[in-house]
């Protein structure tokens, strides 16, 4: 089976437990303004200029080809409780390929995680839950209208799926909130997400990921305009303040960063 991959990154240590290999699948149905991987959004292979050189982004790979690379760091996973993480784009937009990778890893004794917005039909999620150790789910805003304005879609399906995943109790669920100035960095906005996490139960950790501008150059490379050029990353004081709001609100472990 083939899937479209736009990057495989070994020795990732900020996205899930331990030393991990992240497989980035191409294509996403959302278009968040702050997206740091804009080359991940299209489902098609495309060209991007990096350092004045044209780079082809997106490669068709088989499950075996991906797993050959994932296997190379198996000894490191074992030592550090790491493993495979699927990310994107939105990995669940290639549901069959994602499931095949997660199953292949699990069958070979490699721990599994996905990083996802969960904006897909629940049966796609349900299909992989039996093989999934960690679900790192992005929740960006509780207000659907604002969500739609900044990401291109409403959040109803996301929140519903979050609740179902939590209730299934089949995987360890973490909520990841990208903290974006002028979008969701008001204490009340973070608080409402924390309340939601408390309400659905079974959330093991909430991560606050400070906005960064590291994807900015890629927009130029794709010939796109970066809409957030004026936005500065939140200060560390601000992040600490939001962290304490989460902790007070829901009594769930909260970390700044992955």
């Amino acid at each position: 089976m083939n899937g479209k991959v736009f990057d495989i990154q070994r020795y990732s240590i900020h996205d899930g437990r331990g030393i991990r290999t992240i497989v980035f699948l191409k294509g996403c149905t959302m278009s968040c303004r702050w997206c740091s991987n804009p080359e991940s959004q299209s489902f098609e292979t495309q060209e991007m200029i990096v350092n004045n050189q044209t780079r082809v982004v997106g490669k068709d790979m088989t499950v075996e080809e991906v797993m050959d690379i994932v296997e190379k760091d198996r000894a490191y996973y074992r030592r550090t409780k790491g493993g495979l993480t699927l990310s994107g784009g939105e990995c669940l937009n290639q549901p069959e390929f994602s499931k095949a990778l997660i199953m292949a890893a699990k069958q070979n004794g490699i721990s599994t995680a996905i990083e996802s917005m969960a904006a897909v039909k629940y049966d796609k999620i349900e299909a992989i839950l039996p093989y999934l150790d960690q679900f790192l789910m992005d929740i960006k805003h509780i207000d659907s209208q604002k969500h739609k304005l900044y990401t291109g879609i409403g959040n109803e399906l996301i929140l519903e799926n979050a609740r179902k995943v939590a209730q299934s109790n089949m995987t360890e669920l973490s909520i990841r909130i990208p903290v974006i100035p002028n979008f969701n960095d008001h204490p009340d906005e973070i608080k409402s997400i924390a309340c939601f996490a408390k309400d659905i139960g079974n959330v093991s950790c909430i991560h606050l990921l400070p906005y960064h501008r590291l994807g900015q150059d890629k927009y130029d490379g794709l010939g796109r305009k970066y809409l957030m050029a004026d936005i500065l990353p939140p200060s560390s004081e601000k992040m600490k303040e939001l962290k304490s709001i989460v902790e007070v609100t829901c009594d769930i472990e909260c970390k700044i960063g992955g």
Partner: protein
């Protein structure tokens, strides 16, 4: 109960002041030793060489000015001013004379030297013309050996111009019985000798030399005791007065006798460490397993309540300061190859006892803490890691790594112990190994390892393949055939092996000639009395007195060679994109950049295009360091082209050669003498360091690079291998950062890597990366939730990261 106490003892204010004072002035070259040594030699012309050495050593110790630096607790200094050094004209002097006027202004390790000292040294040097180790060594070498050295195929400057050093003596024995004990042992050996035996005259001279040397050392300590009493007399400050009187009491007992407590043990240790560096100019005099031989004194004092942990820490910190007070003035080439004034005094913690039990104790942690407290490059702190190393020691070591100091270096018992046994060490001795200098393992107190005997540039013989043995119009190598005569990759590779074999044999000749010269003119009876079985055999280590004898030359440029061979294999013999002749042309044209500006102008457009194409094809090929078997296994194989021939050879001390794969910092200057190589490396740029991938060519991250390096055979390179990794400080953030870091080391060692050390990049490095992006192509900066290759980011984003980097500390 826990086996050890890991409580952190912070730095005392005294240590801050000692460090500050030490760095106030530029280090200075002093003439005392050279003048006194020469004075003595002039009076002993007709005596045995070994006794002349001892008498000169004792004469220096009886007369060289002694100083007690302000506030110090441990005394004994090689120079009257901090970080100064003495000179060693008996090894070589011409370079110093020639560099008198540039010493203070050179870029690598400048030293001040006064006009008065220059005059005194010049006067002494007159005596040494024609009498030095260096001159004898050169006269013993074959002409073709000297020719290859002139053409920079390999260099042996280390031992050709100075003492050998590179040794760990039996510190424990001096701490236990003192030099009076060693004198007694020597007298017992004399008494056991049969006066009529054929070797008696030489043996007797050696024994007399040992006794003379030890007496000189005792006198030297007593001079410090006397000075301390005099200074105490004059001292107005009651606290310092007491300290000075304590120093006097210490020096009256040690190193003459066994140490009675931890403080005396520290002082005794220091005299041993310091005075070996007065006897000879050899560097890498390595304290070795300090946490093991010092522990009984510490444990006893703590148990009896005679010392508190804070003062014990201050004493260790004081020793760390002293280790930085010793410097070595090398010739310009040497200073570039060993940049940083360092005396490479390697001190190692952790590992196993000779019986195979984990050796971690309180002092293992306190040594790591001392490097935190003093925060200077000496000692070169190392740590032994085995499957049974406790994680809390790993955590303490990682905390030091995280500071960016580049210490400790980690060594793998699971490779080094079997590797040493394959060289003839017993299991118990192999388990008791420590590291010398940079990365070289030996059993301290029993070995003359001659580690670091030569730097062998593995790229140069490849150039000789392309030129049919010629270099700058001179036949330096073998005539392996015109470049277009090779019909297969194997023929080409075999020609390289032929060139290598020949140059290796010349390097061996060079090493053995120098070895012979040291055994004639560079005898060290003082050092020898602390190495088994010199007293038993009645001879110095230079003459084969040690139990284990090796010579360890090191090859470097493995990554360049692996990538080069792969380029030739693919582009010439598999893809048929170019001929070897065209490749030769491209290398001569330095990929279109020319070997200098003038040459660059004369390259035709057609040739320029060819160069450009070839460079592009090379860049597209996989490179060593990315966990790709087809290149990595070539690296493993080409390393054997150096390590296997080397181990066939014997040295004059009755030992064998063993190869290492590491460059110190010589990969930069020696790369500067190397033309373009088929891996795309431009002429005169640095070659790869140690077994690490070429800079910027490992793009798949630290685990991939570690996997590639671990595919090499680290066992056969028993003189040591060196693997450097760079990290951003955030990679070690928090508990999970440390856990992952430890995981990386443990897995690299499971896969049988031998050594790994880390540069945690700081703000300055990131600034440098902004200016020189080519040097840092692989530098991954990991910021929460995202990773990026630093140099691919725009300037403004780089600034963001640099600012973040500061925050993470």
């Amino acid at each position: 109960m826990k086996k050890y106490n890991t409580t952190v003892e912070p730095k005392s204010e005294r240590i801050t002041r000692l460090v500050d004072r030490m760095f106030k002035d530029m280090p200075e070259v002093e003439s005392y030793r050279a003048v006194l040594l020469t004075e003595s030699y002039k009076q002993t012309e007709d005596e045995p060489a070994v006794l002349r050495r001892a008498k000169a050593f004792a004469h220096v110790l009886e007369n060289i000015p002694v100083v007690i630096r302000e506030e110090e607790l441990i005394v004994g200094s090689n120079s009257t001013k901090p970080r100064g050094c003495q000179t060693y004209p008996e090894y070589s002097n011409k370079w110093l004379e020639a560099e008198f006027d540039t010493l203070a202004t050179r870029s690598a390790d400048p030293f001040y030297i006064s006009e008065e000292s220059k005059k005194a040294l010049s006067e002494s040097h007159k005596y040494w013309d024609g009498k030095t180790v260096s001159e004898l060594a050169l006269s013993l070498m074959a002409p073709e050996t000297i020719r290859s050295m002139d053409h920079n195929i390999f260099t042996v400057g280390n031992y050709l111009y100075g003492g050998v050093g590179h040794v760990t003596v039996n510190y424990g024995e001096v701490l236990a019985i003192g030099y009076n004990g060693i004198i007694q042992k020597t007298k017992d050996a004399i008494a056991k000798c049969d006066i009529s035996e054929k070797d008696y005259p030489e043996k007797r001279a050696f024994y007399d030399a040992v006794i003379t040397s030890c007496e000189g050392v005792i006198t030297y300590a007593n001079r410090h005791a006397k000075l301390a009493r005099e200074e105490a007399e004059r001292c107005q400050d009651e606290t310092r007065k007491k300290e000075l009187l304590q120093i006097a009491t210490n020096c009256e007992n040690v190193p003459a006798n066994g140490a009675k407590n931890f403080y005396e043990a520290c002082q005794s240790f220091w005299f041993v460490q310091q005075l070996m560096q007065v006897e000879s100019s050899g560097h890498s005099i390595s304290p070795g397993r300090f946490d093991q031989y010092m522990y009984p004194y510490y444990e006893k004092d703590i148990k009896e309540g005679k010392i508190n942990r804070a003062f014990a820490q201050e004493l260790i910190d004081s020793l760390w300061v002293k280790l930085n007070d010793l410097t070595k003035c090398r010739d310009l080439g040497g200073a570039e190859g060993f940049a940083g004034y360092g005396a490479f005094q390697n001190l190692i913690v952790g590992g196993q006892t000779p019986d195979g039990v984990d050796a971690t104790n309180d002092l293992s942690f306190m040594c790591i803490q001392a490097s935190h407290n003093v925060f200077l490059p000496q000692p070169s702190l190392s740590m032994r890691v085995w499957n049974g190393t406790p994680d809390d020691l790993m955590v303490a070591a990682s905390g030091l790594t995280k500071t960016g100091i580049g210490l400790p270096a980690f060594y793998n018992d699971e490779v080094i112990i079997p590797a040493l046994m394959s060289r003839g060490l017993t299991l118990q001795d192999a388990r008791d190994y420590n590291i010398i200098g940079c990365v070289e393992p030996q059993k301290g107190g029993k070995t003359e390892g001659w580690h670091d005997s030569a730097f062998f540039n593995m790229c140069r013989p490849l150039e000789l393949v392309f030129s049919n043995g010629m270099d700058n119009g001179v036949l330096v190598g073998k005539q392996t055939g015109e470049i277009n005569s090779f019909k297969t990759f194997d023929e080409f590779y075999n020609a390289y092996k032929t060139q290598m074999d020949y140059q290796i044999s010349l390097m061996i000749n060079s090493n053995n000639a120098i070895d012979k010269a040291h055994s004639t003119r560079g005898l060290n009876p003082f050092q020898s009395c602390m190495i088994e079985d010199c007293i038993g055999r009645g001879k110095t280590v230079q003459e084969g007195g040690a139990i284990y004898n090796f010579t360890g030359p090191q090859g470097f440029g493995i990554a360049n060679m692996a990538d080069s061979l792969y380029s030739v294999q693919k582009l010439v013999f598999e893809q048929n994109k170019i001929t070897l002749e065209q490749f030769k042309k491209v290398l001569e044209l330095n990929y279109g950049y020319g070997v200098n500006e003038e040459a660059a102008k004369n390259i035709s457009a057609e040739d320029k295009q060819l160069c450009e194409n070839v460079k592009k094809w090379i860049d597209e090929l996989p490179k060593f360091g990315n966990d790709l078997d087809e290149v990595d296994m070539l690296a493993r194989d080409v390393a054997y082209v150096f390590t296997k021939p080397v181990e066939k050879y014997k040295n004059p001390r009755g030992g064998t050669f063993q190869a290492g794969l590491y460059p110190v910092s010589a990969n930069v200057p020696l790369g500067g003498q190397t033309g373009a190589t088929p891996d795309g490396r431009l002429a005169f740029t640095p070659v790869a360091d140690g077994v690490s991938p070429s800079a910027g060519k490992d793009t798949a991250g630290p685990t991939a690079a570690a996997n590639s390096v671990s595919k090499m055979d680290h066992f056969i390179a028993s003189n040591g291998t060196l693997f450097n990794q760079k990290f951003h400080p955030t990679a070690l953030d928090g508990q999970s950062g440390i856990d992952n870091f430890i995981g990386l080391i443990r897995v690299f060692f499971e896969k049988k890597g031998s050594h790994i050390q880390f540069n945690v990049v700081d703000r300055d490095t990131l600034r440098d990366a902004q200016e020189h992006p080519d040097k840092y192509k692989q530098l991954v900066v990991r910021v929460a939730g995202y990773s990026a290759i630093f140099v691919t980011l725009s300037k403004s984003l780089q600034e963001d990261i640099i600012n973040r980097t500061e925050l993470t500390f």
